[in-house]
């Protein structure tokens, strides 16, 4: 039996499989299908200082092998998370990655401080890359913080100074060169990177001549984006020294192995959980089989083991 444990930027995980923020709620719903404590970590839906109602419906559009969403970070807010959601995750014994979102660096810093002070997370993932929040689209004339390396550096520094928890910066694929924001996050003191958030996309109903989403545009996820995500992880791995959590369209163990071979230190299952709630568990089981069959004793043996010559 292979050793699946990993240490990702100071976060110890019993296996390298977590779930993508926003595809797993706060864990309770999917615990009806399997023991969520079996996951390497549970990454919770983005938390903001105040609750958010999110965008008007329609919020979803299915596209070839993918899902376009414009949820708009509907969430219960940090207070309700700590009060109502956290006790369940702690009782289960889950390793928790709390994803946070703010409108200014100080918001993120405040969220990180509270999470650390109230043991609300074992690591923090910083969402600098949500494509669906209108009021965030003003930073330096850019739509996303993650699209401006100087802003990534500034935000990361401020959040870094607010917490000692392992800090992962979640970046956007909607850039010309993924390496630049990765380097900025590393320079700002991040312990790791989460790659990638959704790709910006659009769908039009030609009958009504209207965009399908109320937000007009949304973020594309699912198997359609997997090769894009894999290539960005591979690019980033060769440019930074901090570990990377790879995500984007992972549906099975074979997909997860590809990200690990490309150099990701852990992976997250996202949209695929919507189709089969236990996808992440199947990935863990398949990953263990793969490591055994390849004759390795530890999953870390396959991280970055891509053969390019």
């Amino acid at each position: 039996m292979a050793d699946l444990s990993v240490n990702v930027g100071g976060l110890r995980m019993k296996n390298p499989v977590t779930v993508a923020s926003g595809t797993f709620g706060y864990g309770q719903e999917y615990d009806e299908y399997f023991d969520i404590a079996r996951l390497g970590a549970v990454t919770v839906k983005s938390l903001t200082l105040q609750p958010r109602a999110g965008n008007r419906p329609p919020r979803l559009a299915e596209t070839p092998a993918g899902l376009l969403n414009a949820i708009g970070l509907q969430n219960v807010g940090i207070e309700a998370y700590l009060r109502d959601k956290l006790p369940f995750l702690r009782k289960k014994g889950c390793t928790i990655i709390a994803n946070i979102y703010g409108y200014a660096p100080e918001d993120y810093a405040e969220l990180a401080r509270r999470l650390e002070a109230e043991q609300g997370a074992d690591a923090i993932e910083v969402n600098l890359s949500c494509p669906n929040v209108h009021d965030a689209r003003t930073v330096g004339g850019c739509k996303l913080v993650a699209q401006q390396p100087e802003a990534v550096l500034k935000y990361t520094r401020v959040i870094r100074s607010a917490t000692r928890l392992p800090l992962f910066i979640k970046l956007s694929p909607n850039v010309a060169d993924i390496v630049e924001p990765c380097l900025a996050a590393q320079e700002g003191g991040a312990n790791g990177l989460s790659l990638i958030n959704t790709l910006l996309g659009m769908e039009i109903d030609v009958k009504s001549r209207k965009p399908v989403l109320s937000n007009l545009v949304g973020g594309l996820s699912g198997p359609a984006i997997r090769p894009v995500a894999l290539k960005m992880v591979w690019d980033a791995v060769r440019a930074v020294t901090i570990p990377i959590i790879g995500m984007g369209g992972i549906c099975d163990a074979r997909d997860a192995v590809a990200f690990l071979l490309a150099g990701a230190s852990a992976v997250a299952v996202g949209t695929a959980s919507f189709r089969r709630p236990d996808t992440a568990i199947r990935v863990i089981e398949g990953l263990e089989r793969y490591v055994d069959e390849q004759g390795f004793s530890r999953v870390t043996d396959i991280i970055g083991a891509l053969r390019t010559e």
Partner: protein, 264 residues
């Protein structure tokens, strides 16, 4: 506790143009199911369509369930090609069922088009409670009035309406309801159909001071309350949010809890 399981297709018939009934062997799901709940059905093995499709449970049998659906897009088109003996992967039962209070004099079931889908199970539950369901069934035209005979066979009173007058009264489901409602009686109304129809039914019930339960339809990615994709604007604070999930807080809502003017 919902199940995720491969279920054998027992029967699959076209009951009207583009309208199908699929019956599955699913004893576990059947024993947990209540009228008004739904299941997520995997419509294909490949990556497109990637997501399951939500369907209200039409009827609950001792060892299985049936679904009544209309072919609308790629997912339902694929589903319509499934044959008896094939298996379908089903997730469910999900969502909150219709409340069936006892001691009510009249149970009015108002259906528009394929909105009839969850009502056969509800009619059976009302009959089990000792009531006689009155089904007000409306559609665009006669051939789209699905299930009228099934309701009659069960012992329901059935009134029909069509937009074009090809069967029953010429008019809408809300027109039928207006004619049937008597505020002096203890009445509970159930509605399922297109959003404008349910809104009209809600307004008639409000005016008459009658409780109305509506089963809402929405595009869903997960069906489990996770993706936040299927929300509708709410009138009251539920879960501290203004948007409520059709899959989790619904699909059956007290219509006073929905902000109908803000619905798309």
């Amino acid at each position: 506790m919902p199940f995720v399981m491969d279920c054998e297709v027992l029967a699959h018939q076209e009951v009207a143009a583009d309208h199908f009934r699929v019956t599955l062997v699913a004893p576990e799901i059947a024993s947990a199911a209540r009228a008004g709940m739904f299941c997520m059905i995997e419509v294909g093995a490949g990556y497109h369509p990637f997501l399951r499709r939500p369907f209200s449970i039409e009827r609950i049998y001792p060892d299985g369930v049936s679904f009544l659906y209309k072919v609308e897009g790629e997912g339902t088109r694929l589903l319509s090609r499934v044959r008896p003996g094939d298996t379908l992967n089903i997730q469910g039962p999900l969502g909150r069922p219709f409340p069936v209070p006892g001691g009510v004099r009249r149970y009015l079931l108002v259906a528009g088009g394929i909105g009839v889908a969850p009502f056969p199970a509800l009619a059976e539950a009302i009959i089990a409670e000792g009531g006689t369901p009155e089904v007000l069934l409306a559609a665009r035209t006669e051939r789209l009035l699905v299930g009228a005979r099934d309701f009659t066979r069960m012992g329901c009173r059935v009134t029909l309406a069509t937009d074009d007058g090809s069967a029953g009264h010429q008019g809408t489901a809300a027109d039928l309801l207006e004619a049937a409602l008597d505020p002096r009686e203890s009445v509970v109304v159930y509605a399922c159909g297109p959003m404008p129809m349910m809104r009209a039914v809600h307004e008639k019930c409000q005016a008459a001071g009658v409780v109305c339960w509506a089963s809402l339809e929405a595009h869903m990615a997960c069906g489990d309350g996770v993706c936040m994709g299927c929300v509708v604007p709410a009138n009251r604070e539920m879960e501290a949010e203004r948007m409520v999930r059709v899959c989790r807080e619904g699909p059956v809502f007290d219509t006073r809890d929905i902000n109908w003017t803000a619905c798309p």
